[in-house]
């Protein structure tokens, strides 16, 4: 079933000796780099730093919610924390982490020497720190950071804004430009840089998911840019897009925002599907079950994501027809998603499974993401959504899909490719500690939130009624434990970069893919000449 890939082709060896060529030294190497591996590394480190920053905010949030009453922070500062936590995790942690994966892996998986637009690649990374400097800098200004929720509903972010709207808008503009440039680079790379002989349907599913995600980004990030621009002019230049007094409509804001917002949700999960679809076959020692159906399922999810946005707005007073339309469309998404979950399970079925850390995170992903999917189905039902809306049930739902979904897939991918990136095996014991601590604490953190939400605890409020006290205490303990567990990962990565068991070119015996045909660590320049057809055929994820 598995076939050995010819490791270390002659053309790679040829490059091994010259792989320092073109590298500058010191800070300049990172500032001026156009190398996809360097930029991938920058993205991944940036994402991890942002993850710890947003995580620190979550720790303060959970400390405040440890017991009822107001203990640590003022309600207004609490609102700033929830807002910026959300913005950072979405735009600063998950999305840049995936872009980092794309940069590192796409050229190597496609047999391309680099991304198609290396100079733009440099820009799209280096404007990101400025965006987040603006966003985080607003904490230190008189008005404070944005406090209107990461969804920045008008009129909270216009008429009732604390004065941070301009900083927020410019930060989002820069993040958006960065994402759009990154996405254009991904699309152009995939369309134009594939090795000769690699057809679209021979691309690894990982590449497919990033291809589709990049299209989603190109389609909806400009809409986000548009809606924050309207916000800006409404707040500072006297327009009335969302101001009822001037003939505008605040509900219109929600329509435009969620027209961006729902595809955004899939932007954060489709790449996760790609990573997991790479890892599960490896450690099942089988080909991916139903490659073609995976491609179509991903495309269907992407398409459906454009026609379900109003399920975030069931309580705004929509007519019955609208509620039914958006309810049924939303539930329809469960079908392609179900195809995917089925395919992952079928890939594992009767495979020779081993449970290395990437596989553990992937299996946890399949189970826990599915739990998040089910709570999503519950939220999709209009009548019950009236009860769940704006409660901790929603918080539980999207943290299951984003933390145990997207984040766990990022961990899975990081452990899977760390040997390729660093040339060393990670510390297995520590990585298992990271996994088990994360798994237990994340469920203690988010599962009781379902019950809190069903019992009526509203989200984004710094205080709560006494009957919610016990669950909140456990949630907070889970939160602190989860936060601390992530530091183990930092230790694992640093140890892995500094040394450790030398990794072979292909450390996982069941792995397929062109990235394993080059040495570990991957030479600075790979595939200056395209890989041979035999390698491309070996990397084909179709079942034979």
């Amino acid at each position: 079933m598995t076939t050995d890939v010819i490791v270390q082709d002659s053309h790679d060896e040829h490059h091994d000796d010259s792989h320092e060529h073109g590298k500058m030294t010191g800070i300049k190497r990172w500032l001026y780099t156009t190398n996809h591996k360097d930029i991938g590394t920058l993205y991944l480190w940036f994402a991890f730093i942002m993850f710890l920053t947003g995580g620190a905010m979550a720790m303060v949030i959970r400390a405040e919610l440890f017991q009822p009453g107001l203990q640590l922070v003022e309600p207004d500062f609490f609102n700033q924390l929830t807002t910026v936590h959300g913005l950072i995790m979405v735009f600063g942690a998950i999305m840049p982490a995936f872009t980092g994966f794309a940069n590192w892996m796409l050229p190597m998986m496609l047999g391309a020497p680099d991304m198609a637009l290396p100079r733009m690649n440099n820009w799209s990374f280096w404007i990101l720190p400025f965006a987040f400097a603006i966003l985080l800098g607003s904490f230190f200004m008189e008005s404070g950071a944005p406090n209107f929720g990461w969804t920045f509903y008008a009129p909270l972010s216009t008429t009732y804004s604390n004065g941070s709207t301009a900083f927020f808008v410019f930060a989002v503009h820069i993040m958006g430009i960065s994402s759009i440039m990154g996405a254009i680079n991904i699309v152009v790379t995939i369309m134009n840089m594939r090795a000769p002989g690699m057809t679209y349907m021979k691309m690894p599913l990982f590449v497919w998911t990033f291809f589709i995600t990049a299209y989603l980004l190109i389609a909806v990030m400009p809409v986000l840019a548009g809606v924050v621009t309207m916000l800006l002019t409404d707040t500072y230049f006297g327009t009335s897009f969302f101001d009822a007094a001037g003939g505008g409509d605040p509900v219109l804001f929600q329509h435009i925002f969620w027209f961006f917002g729902h595809p955004e949700v899939y932007i954060m999960i489709l790449p996760a599907f790609g990573i997991v679809s790479t890892i599960i076959p490896t450690f099942s020692r089988k080909r991916l079950f139903g490659y073609t159906s995976m491609v179509y399922a991903t495309s269907s999810i992407a398409f459906l994501s454009f026609i379900v946005w109003a399920h975030h707005m069931f309580t705004t007073g929509m007519p019955l027809f609208g509620e039914l339309f958006f309810m049924y469309c939303t539930m329809l998404i469960a079908v392609p998603t179900g195809v995917k979950v089925f395919n992952w399970v079928a890939t594992m079925w009767r495979g020779s499974l081993t449970f290395e850390t990437p596989m553990l995170f992937s299996i946890a992903f399949v189970i826990l993401f599915t739990i998040g999917g089910f709570s999503g189905l519950m939220l999709a039902m209009t009548p019950v959504d009236f009860q769940y809306h704006d409660t901790y049930f929603v918080v539980a739902h999207f943290h299951y899909v984003l933390v145990t979904g997207s984040l766990f897939s990022i961990y899975a991918g990081a452990y899977y490719w760390l040997p390729k990136w660093t040339g060393h095996m990670y510390n297995d014991t520590l990585s298992k500690w990271h996994f088990w601590c994360s798994l237990i604490s994340v469920n203690l953190l988010f599962f009781p939130m379902h019950f809190l939400g069903l019992a009526g605890m509203p989200r984004r409020i710094p205080d709560y009624a006494l009957q919610f006290a016990d669950f909140n205490k456990w949630v907070s303990i889970g939160g602190f434990a989860f936060g601390l567990s992530q530091l183990i990962f930092l230790v694992v990565v640093i140890k892995c970069i500094r040394g450790g068991e030398k990794a072979p070119a292909k450390p996982w015996d069941g792995a397929i893919g062109l990235e394993w045909t080059v040495a570990s660590p991957a030479p600075y320049h790979t595939f200056s000449t395209p890989p041979p057809q035999a390698d491309i055929d070996q990397a084909d994820q179709h079942e034979h």
């Binding site: 152009v188 134009n192 548009g226 809606v227 007094a245 003939g247 409509d249 027209f259």
Partner: protein, 203 residues
């Protein structure tokens, strides 16, 4: 693009040819890239425009369907072909001040019964209780939203701005009729006015 690839695929048999094809050829590859980038940038610009196009589209969509309870914003002529005395509709009036406008603002009568097609005139009372001159703007909304298209205002104070000097008061009129085609399951309409302070915006 994809047909090219299929051709490439069939050409590359079991013995791989390493000759770079046009995809990996320096100059034409970058020309190819520029073409793709241009197309994608076009999509970006179009979608940015689409975000703004949603504003008028939303209004048109709501106008046609009456989804968001918005009523006509300029006066309409009376066009009903009679009065349907078999039906009696209750029209309720409620008022609300948006944050920060210190006016007294209320309907003179809270509800009225009408037959479809019958013209009614009601009044609203407003008084500026502040020490400043303020320009107010009332924004109407009808509930249930789907009834909005069947509620016609022949004359309404909400069509214009209401400047009131400090401590000045005014009685403002609304002249309306309910359409003969009002859906049979709707027997009560609620007309809600929210009053906004637009002094800054109109100065």
């Amino acid at each position: 693009m994809s047909t090219d690839d299929r051709k490439n695929d069939s050409q590359h048999g079991s013995k791989a040819k390493l000759a770079p094809d046009k995809n990996n050829d320096g100059s034409s590859a970058s020309a190819n890239n520029t073409k793709t980038v241009k197309k994608l940038l076009l999509v970006v610009v179009a979608m940015f425009g689409f975000g703004f196009a949603l504003v008028p589209l939303y209004d048109v969509f709501c106008d046609i369907t009456g989804l968001n309870g918005k009523t006509n914003s300029t006066a309409v002529d009376y066009t009903a072909t009679g009065i349907d005395e078999s039906r009696t509709i209750t029209v309720q009036f409620i008022t609300r001040n948006a944050k920060g406008i210190p006016w007294q603002f209320e309907p003179v009568i809270n509800e009225i019964t009408v037959h479809p097609g019958e013209i009614k005139v009601v009044s609203f009372y407003a008084k500026n209780n502040s020490q400043h001159d303020i320009i107010g703007q009332a924004v109407p909304s009808v509930s249930p939203g789907l009834a909005a298209n069947y509620f016609h205002k022949i004359e309404c104070f909400c069509f214009t701005q209401q400047p009131l000097k400090s401590l000045e008061d005014v009685e403002m009129t609304l002249q309306f009729y309910v359409d003969l085609d009002l859906p049979k399951d709707i027997n009560t309409l609620t007309l809600s006015y929210t009053l906004y302070d637009i002094t800054e915006k109109s100065s």
